[in-house]
């Protein structure tokens, strides 16, 4: 589905990602973990296309998308969510989702016909709102939602583009246990139809969801494998998991 081949990114003298190779298979939840500053969000930016890649190649369904613009990648089925919530705060929940649905269904260079008349758009937006547990909040301004609801909408905006692969950058950031459980359940439901690359610090969530895990430290991949193998890997324990498991 997605393959990174020796991908690197540097900001001035700082190497953010260094010779990263990884693959996400169809129907897989692939977790990307590592300490703060390991380059996880940079890598998400490179895959999604918001950051240019200095070296290496990114392949989506064996097409080389390294030079593609971000919106082209989304059209090809690659959507992302942000670690820091990025939604349309002054739009209602329904309008947020409808815009994302609109983006992938038909041309938006339509200047005269009211978008409100397109019931199909809003019907699909409602379906996604149900999926992410916001069916009761359709008319609320996104900015007035509780933190957990905003995080759900964040993921919903990515799902509304109907991706083949979704990049979720710390979807559970700042969530309480109950909200986290809801997010885990949501990812559990979508995995049937969408491949997921999941960046997450919540190790409970990672080990429950991931089919495979890649560990990134200082921009380099130090291990990739099944959750059990990663848990047992001495280098991973020393570099990252040690403190997490001890806590």
């Amino acid at each position: 589905m997605l393959a990174l081949r020796n991908v690197s990114k540097r900001f001035g003298g700082v190497v953010a990602t260094d010779d990263v190779s990884l693959a996400v298979a169809r129907g897989e939840v692939h977790a990307l973990i590592g300490p703060n500053g390991a380059g996880k969000t940079t890598l998400i930016g490179q895959i999604s296309g918001s950051l240019a890649t200095d070296a290496g190649a990114i392949l989506l369904e064996s097409a080389d998308i390294t030079a593609w613009r971000e919106h082209q990648r989304v059209k090809a089925g690659l959507a992302r969510s942000y670690q820091i919530t990025s939604i349309f705060r002054r739009f209602s929940v329904l309008d947020n989702l409808a815009l994302a649905v609109q983006a992938r269904s038909g041309s938006s260079f339509s200047f005269w016909r009211p978008v409100a008349a397109e019931s199909a758009l809003f019907e699909e937006a409602r379906t996604i709102a149900r999926e992410i547990g916001l069916a009761e909040r359709l008319e609320a301004s996104a900015g007035t939602l509780a933190h957990g609801e905003q995080r759900a909408l964040e993921v919903g905006l990515a799902l509304a583009t109907r991706p083949k692969l979704v990049l979720l950058d710390e979807p559970m950031a700042g969530m309480g246990p109950e909200e986290s459980h809801r997010m885990i359940a949501l990812i559990g439901r979508i995995r049937a139809s969408v491949a997921v690359l999941l960046v997450e610090h919540d190790m409970d969530a990672v080990f429950r969801l991931a089919d495979r895990i890649t560990v990134l430290v200082n921009g380099r991949v130090i291990a990739t494998g099944k959750p059990e193998a990663i848990r047992a890997d001495p280098e991973v324990r020393r570099a990252y998991l040690g403190d997490e498991l001890a806590a």
């Binding site: 209602s92 609109q102 041309s107 260079f109 301004s141 583009t161």
Partner: protein
């Protein structure tokens, strides 16, 4: 709201008849000028208010329209059916070129580069000696509409401008509620996210910029026809600033923002300049030569106490739905 709109339109239709009857024909001409500025400010509001693009060079498009239509009249092509579309096309082209370059920048750079382009055009027309240079171009007559409408008549001109203004407002209303309008507003709210749901931000902004430029060009053609005169000041950065002030006064991102802003600003200027207030004149004898001070105070009050502009004071707060 619908009722208020109906009465406002009725009043605007009755206005010239009333003024003729009272013998104040000057005000018919003045109202035409206000409405032309309303069209120009409304077109800027599309870019500035709905699109969130801080264009400081909108006078370039108004000016391009004014000059192209005037040059055609000066060269003997008097038909508005040629002159006005030509003005629209020229301004759209200018907006396409300026937008294509400017929209690659953000924030203060965008403000500066749009300003720079407008100033370049200002100096360009200044140097066009064949068409008056810095002295401007006086037209033998207004553009001709045909169809039995004589635009030389202030009343006929008024109704023509009124019809165009109402059409422009209706078009803006349709535009901001269309798919395209939703995207443009969403870009204002969060451009990175719009790109991340798969829409090419740059392309939408550019098309929006071109539409606004084209409408500004039409306003310019009307402005030149109205005064039978055009000079380079129509492209000066002060003119861009005036249009911006109108939008901010009236209501950024409000359908009626440009109209209210143009009416209030020009009305205020006229009031201060033409109606001497005795007690104020006693304190400051030449206060009328400094009308901008009064305008500045009003603008300051609006920005501080009504950031949504005058239109925002009337309509209640709601979601960013237009």
């Amino acid at each position: 709201m619908r009722k208020a709109l109906f009465f406002a339109i009725l009043l605007l239709i009755a206005f010239p008849v009333l003024m003729q009857w009272l013998g104040y024909l000057f005000y018919v001409s003045f109202a035409s000028r206000v409405m032309i500025y309303a069209i120009a400010a409304t077109s800027l509001n599309l870019v500035l208010g709905y699109g969130g693009m801080l264009s400081f060079g909108h006078a370039a498009f108004v000016g391009a329209g004014a000059y192209v239509s005037s040059i055609l009249v000066a060269e003997g092509v008097a038909s508005a059916w040629i002159g006005w579309p030509a003005a629209i096309a020229a301004s759209a082209l200018a907006a396409w070129i300026i937008g294509a370059i400017s929209l690659r920048t953000r924030g203060v750079y965008f403000i500066m580069i749009t300003l720079a382009f407008a100033q370049m055009m200002f100096y360009l027309v200044n140097s066009m000696k064949a068409y008056g240079g810095d002295e401007g171009l006086t037209l033998p007559r207004r553009a001709e509409l045909g169809l039995g409408v004589d635009l030389a008549s202030e009343v006929a001109f008024y109704y023509t401008v009124l019809a165009i203004l109402l059409l422009a407002l209706y078009a803006l209303h349709r535009l901001v509620h269309s798919r395209f309008g939703r995207v443009v507003i969403a870009i204002r709210e969060n451009a990175a996210r719009v790109e991340a749901v798969g829409l090419p931000v740059y392309r939408y902004q550019l098309v929006c910029f071109v539409i606004a430029g084209a409408a500004g060009g039409l306003a310019g053609a009307l402005l030149a026809s109205h005064g039978k005169y055009v000079n380079p000041n129509v492209l000066h950065w002060v003119q861009s600033g005036t249009l911006m002030i109108m939008v901010i006064l009236g209501g950024v991102g409000h359908l009626w923002g440009g109209v209210i802003g143009a009416a209030v600003l020009l009305g205020l200027e006229h009031l201060i300049a033409d109606h001497r207030v005795a007690w104020l004149a006693e304190i400051a004898p030449n206060y009328q030569q400094h009308a901008n001070l009064g305008v500045g105070i009003v603008l300051l009050a609006i920005v501080l106490f009504a950031p949504q502009g005058i239109a925002g004071l009337v309509t209640r707060k709601r979601n960013a739905r237009p």
